[in-house]
């Protein structure tokens, strides 16, 4: 609160009494002189310049100029009191005196009796500005803010004392010390509910989400004392002769009286939350047909040291039912359609909340507003009115104003500081010339968030209707967030020792702007292209390079994505402990390239995408003794064509709550054996694997269901199978499935393999072996997962969630031994953190219940920790 500045005129000590100011008739005067009085440390001319008044200026007296001058001075907060006096008015000239009072200024403030982090938090909260004049009101306000801060944390008895100390460093400076005594938190001992009959006390208390009773477990004590008192003859007699009528409920009451297991609930008393909770109780009553329910009285009183009790007196009133629901004013849609959407029948329990939900926004089905809003009726209004109450029956009239059908006129975009317009506009489903549709807005919002360039929680569509023209402009407000990722990791990779990895992903790259330095942040950005680089090495022995590029809208006309990638890696074999190039004994070099096209489909529905890719991978070996191929010098080439069909309706990429993902993938190599006339029964492996031949099918399913609030259940099922076109060729060693562990490829740098995670088992521990063919790896696998997730933070700069999971899966060497129920089971817990700069990082602990083939003892796999980077598909 500001003390008000005074504007005194013609009042005062030194003033000539003959001055008469005519307030009804202000006159213009020229300022002849401004005298400043009462300043000690401040500078006269500087203060005058702050007022905006100057000798020679023409001002109206009385008038705005003078009061503005006072206001301007006051705004700077450096003086305690200001008045402007008119000394003399003569020949159209005014002689003014600026009377000021300097007050001490705040130089510093500190807290005592509280922790450093809370001091910091409070320092920002109490809004004291250093250098400003200190008034009693400012000190009082600061004290109040400190009090509120602790009361909100449950310290109802907090005590704040303020000391003002002169600061010797600065003239007329003052230091403030807030001495805070927090005292103990006050907790709620008991909540007593009176008058609740139709709904029992426990339910009422449960509806109070944030106001809870303290933990109590007095059962043993109470039982003991009851037993002792029962032992007395008169009580025994009473017990034996009296039969309790309502045995069941008295046991419940008895338990309730003595046991409260609120382990995870807050039992602090916070006034604002308490009041919200009272509303929740009434809302609950209303939803059960008790439309008149109210809380007649509530009291909060101390029940002991740091303990309070809450008494609620509820008047429930009568239970009501719906009778007739009538629609008025609907011309576009019939009563029948509207009734179907509303779904309220005669005789249903009266529940206005349900009506409102079905009216405004129903997450589980159609709603009345949606029916109109998705078809352009932006000005649609519907008001439910109780028209008649008779006994326990209520007639409701739904009064509708349909309004005009609005057409979208302009679509604007604000907040894109990095991403170019065209990258966003091509995704918008709100298109000029179309009818306004709420559904399209919601869907666009979801799709924009999936681009990953914008903060999903702040994407804000604002419809700006023009009532006269019956058009609506839509303004999309977005906030950019960093979308580039860097990953650095190191790990032990089999025989290679330490292998370091550097990965960079630029999700908003722009090839076009490579020569435009101004777009560099730190690389050319804004066109929504993706560039990723990955380097892995442990020195000369093993190196791997990969680069990939994606243009999501090839040609800018249709959402057809183009994807190009190259990779190269080399492994060298050296004599023991001698890593010079000239001494290398053998090597494996791999080259790979792939090109792919992805298209969004509109049929069967527009959640579908299909993609095609051509991929080539060659393996060149020389004296490569670890090849497992049956030859160690030669070349193999894997040339395949991959088709993927998938449907994705997941609502949010970071923390999905609803939606599902279904994907099928088919990879095929050309069927060389059908036309090359080779005798595959009598052929050496080098010839056999010159061109690799197989087909491979993958099927993946993910589904998300919101259980309660942000608690989400993810269910997944995965299946993969690979086979050969003809029996003579057989399934070679390439591209086989390896299962177990985190699913990271670390440690496996050899022949292209398909790695599937299975938590609770060691990395790649489920790899069947066929001694006859001497080939490792599965040709068929299956895996099922159920995972229950709960978010700790949905902040886009760090999304964190914890989960508990149960998994089962197995990997089979031959399709003949495949059995979808012969699986290795596991369960465990884990956490994931997503940060825009690092991607998804996670840790899991799992317990495997079954033995693995590599454990000869055959006991359970047992306790395993897994560390993961990035989103795993399987």
């Amino acid at each position: 609160q500001e003390a008000t500045a005074q504007f005194r005129m013609g009042v005062g000590r030194k003033i000539d009494n003959t001055i008469k100011l005519d307030y009804g008739n202000p006159k213009e005067y020229e300022i002849a002189e401004i005298d400043v009085q009462g300043i000690e440390t401040l500078n006269k001319s500087a203060l005058l310049s702050l007022t905006g008044l100057k000798v020679g200026d023409k001002v109206r007296i009385p008038g705005d100029d003078i009061s503005n001058a006072i206001r301007k001075l006051w705004k700077h907060g450096i003086i305690g009191d200001v008045s402007i006096l008119v000394n003399k008015l003569e020949d159209g000239q005014a002689f003014l005196t600026l009377e000021l009072k300097e007050r001490p200024r705040l130089t510093r403030f500190e807290f005592q009796g509280i922790s450093k982090s809370q001091s910091k938090e409070l320092g920002e909260k109490i809004k004291l500005i250093r250098g400003r004049v200190l008034t009693d009101a400012i000190v009082k306000n600061a004290e109040l803010s400190i009090r509120d801060f602790y009361v909100d944390k449950g310290h109802l008895n907090v005590d704040v004392k303020t000391k003002q100390i002169e600061d010797t460093l600065v003239t007329s400076g003052v230091r403030l010390i807030f001495d805070v005594t927090k005292n103990n938190k006050v907790r709620i001992d008991k909540i007593n509910v009176f008058g609740a009959e139709a709904i029992d006390d426990q339910t009422v208390k449960r509806k109070m989400k944030k106001t809870n009773e303290n933990l109590r477990f007095k059962l043993p004590n109470r039982l003991a004392s009851d037993l002792i008192s029962l032992g007395k003859p008169e009580n025994m007699k009473y017990f034996l002769t009296h039969q309790e009528g309502d045995g069941g409920s008295s046991v419940k009451d008895y338990l309730n009286e003595n046991v409260k297991l609120n382990f995870f609930k807050s039992t602090k008393f916070i006034r604002t939350e308490y009041e919200e909770d009272l509303d929740k109780v009434i809302t609950y009553y209303n939803s059960r047909g008790y439309r008149d329910a109210q809380i007649m009285e509530d009291s909060v009183y101390a029940s002991g040291k740091d303990r309070i009790n809450v008494d609620l007196h509820i008047e429930e009133g009568q239970k009501y039912y719906f009778r007739d629901v009538e629609w008025v004013g609907n011309f576009v849609y019939t009563d029948e359609i509207m009734n179907k959407i509303l779904g309220v029948k005669k005789g249903d329990v009266y529940d206005m909340e349900l009506i409102n939900k079905k009216l405004n926004f129903n997450p589980n089905g159609p709603d009345v507003y949606g029916q109109y809003m998705d078809n352009g009726y932006l000005a649609f209004r519907c008001e439910p009115v109780e028209v008649k109450v008779e006994g326990d029956s209520i007639d409701v009239e739904m009064r509708i104003v349909e309004g005009a059908q609005f057409t979208i006129n302009k679509v604007r975009l604000t907040g894109n500081d990095r991403t170019n317009d065209h990258v966003v506009y091509r995704e918008l489903r709100t298109v000029p010339g179309d009818k306004f549709s709420r559904d399209m807005i919601i869907r666009t919002q979801r799709e924009l968030s999936q681009l990953g360039y914008f903060d999903a929680e702040t994407i804000n569509p604002v419809p700006l209707p023009n009532m006269a023209a019956e058009t609506v402009d839509i303004e999309w407000g977005v906030q950019e967030r960093p979308s580039d990722q860097i990953s650095l990791s190191g790990g032990w990779g089999g025989s290679f020792g330490f292998v370091g990895t550097v990965g960079l992903t630029f999700n908003n790259f722009s090839v076009k702007n490579i020569f435009d330095k101004s777009t560099y942040r730190p690389l050319p950005s804004g066109d929504g292209q993706k560039l990723s680089l990955n380097i892995q090495a442990n020195g000369v022995q093993y190196q791997s390079y990969a680069i990939g590029f994606t243009e999501p809208w090839l040609g800018g006309r249709k959402p057809t994505s183009l994807n190009v990638s190259f990779n190269h890696s080399v492994q060298r074999i050296f004599p023991f402990n001698d890593f010079s190039f000239t001494n290398q004994i053998g090597f494996l070099k791999m080259w790979g390239a792939s090109i792919g096209l992805g298209k969004r489909l509109t049929w069967p529905d527009d959640w579908f995408t299909i993609s095609y890719a051509l991929s080539m991978q060659t393996y060149e070996m020389e004296n490569y003794t670890y090849s497992r191929l049956g030859f160690d010098t030669g070349t193999s080439t894997n040339f395949s064509f991959i088709t993927t069909l998938s449907r994705n309706s997941v609502d949010n990429p970071m923390y999905p709550r609803t939606g599902s993902l279904v994907s099928t993938r088919l990879a095929m190599t050309p069927p060389y054996s059908l036309f090359n006339n080779k005798d595959y029964d009598n052929i050496d492996n080098e010839e056999k694997y010159r061109f690799v031949e197989f087909y491979k099918v993958n099927f993946d399913l993910k589904n998300y269901v919101q259980i309660w609030g942000d608690l989400v259940l993810e269910t997944k099922a995965h299946f993969g199978h690979m086979g050969s076109y003809t029996n003579q060729v057989g399934v070679g060693p390439f591209e086989r499935f390896e299962m177990g562990g985190s699913g990271l490829s670390g440690g496996n740098f050899m022949l292209g393999t398909d790695i599937v995670a299975l938590r609770g088992y060691q990395d790649r521990s489920l790899i069947p072996y066929n001694p006859e063919e001497q080939i490792q790896g599965g040709t068929t696998f299956v895996k099922y997962t159920a995972e229950l997730r709960y978010p700790l933070s949905l902040n886009p700069s760090a999304t964190i969630y914890v989960h508990t999971f149960a998994e089962a899966g197995n990997n089979f060497n031959e399709v003949s031994s495949f059995d979808p129920f012969d699986v290795k089971r596991s369960a465990g817990v884990g956490a994931r953190i997503f940060m825009p700069a690092f991607g998804l990082i996670g840790i899991d602990w799992g317990y495997g219940f079954d033995p693995t083939p590599t454990q000869p003892a055959g006991g359970p796999s047992g306790s395993q920790f897994h560390f993961t980077i990035g989103q795993q598909i399987r």
């Binding site: 500078n43 500087a46 310049s49 003086i79 975009l413 894109n416 317009d421 800018g556 006309r557």
Partner: protein, 253 residues
């Protein structure tokens, strides 16, 4: 000098800090000077030096390319010291900082529109300022930039083959930027979009849409009688007439 800066940073003597800051400012060490200014500004409010210091602080931000900040501090300056002889310069610099902050046309142009209105208020207040000619020229440039942005967005609907959307957006462009050099091209593209939309329509809608195409064509040749697109436009006109004739025949038979 680096040590002097460090010493000043730790000193509690405001006068000393001020001297060092001024010295750093003279030697164009904007970052260090501003750091010291920040420290002493609250304490020096209401003193003689405060005015000059605030002005220099704003320039310090400007020279460090912190244009949002400099715009804000120049603005605070001319609002606080509205009678200072530097108020005019400050007001211009506040607007000019926003101009500097205006990004390429494919990004959000909030600072561009802000810059235009700030320059306009400057010109209203100081119509005879020495900065006025440059201010006028910059306003023209910025408006051109906004037009280019709108042009690119409108054209994208055409590229995406959203004919209806393209027509609505082309028409809005003509209203928003009546003097733009893009108008002729967009007027033709509107005609073309209209024709394509009519051609791809269901039979029931064809008649209305081809009639609309003809109306659009008539307006087009009235406005651009010597357009480079004239030949192509005439062709579309001819085809639309043929289509309408066919529809009329079908109706009669």
């Amino acid at each position: 000098c680096a040590t002097e800066y460090r010493k000043a940073q730790k000193s509690t003597d405001n006068e000393y800090k001020y001297q060092v800051a001024m010295d750093l400012y003279q030697r164009e060490k904007w970052y260090k000077a501003n750091n010291l200014f920040e420290q002493i500004m609250p304490a020096m409010r209401g003193t003689e030096e405060a005015e000059d210091m605030q002005f220099k602080y704003a320039y310090g931000c400007y020279n460090q390319k912190q244009y949002t900040m400099s715009s804000h501090y120049f603005k605070t300056f001319y609002q606080t010291y509205s009678r200072s002889e530097k108020a005019e310069e400050a007001m211009y610099m506040s607007a000019y900082s926003l101009v500097k902050d205006s990004p390429r046309e494919e990004l959000d142009q909030s600072s561009t529109t802000e810059a235009i209105s700030a320059l306009q208020s400057f010109l209203n207040k100081y119509p005879n300022s020495e900065y006025a000619p440059e201010g006028n020229r910059i306003i023209g440039e910025l408006q051109e930039k906004l037009a280019t942005k709108a042009y690119l967005i409108a054209k994208q609907y055409y590229l995406l083959r959203k004919w209806k959307a393209a027509m609505v957006t082309f028409e809005n462009f003509r209203k928003d930027f009546p003097d733009s050099k893009y108008n002729e091209e967009l007027a033709f593209l509107r005609l073309e979009s209209s024709h394509t939309l009519a051609t791809q329509s269901t039979y029931q809608k064809k008649e209305d849409r081809f009639s609309e195409t003809i109306e659009i064509y008539q307006k087009f040749i009235e406005k651009y009688p010597e357009s480079t697109y004239l030949k192509s436009a005439e062709k579309l006109y001819g085809d639309s007439l043929n289509q309408l004739e066919k529809i009329a025949k079908n109706k009669n038979s």
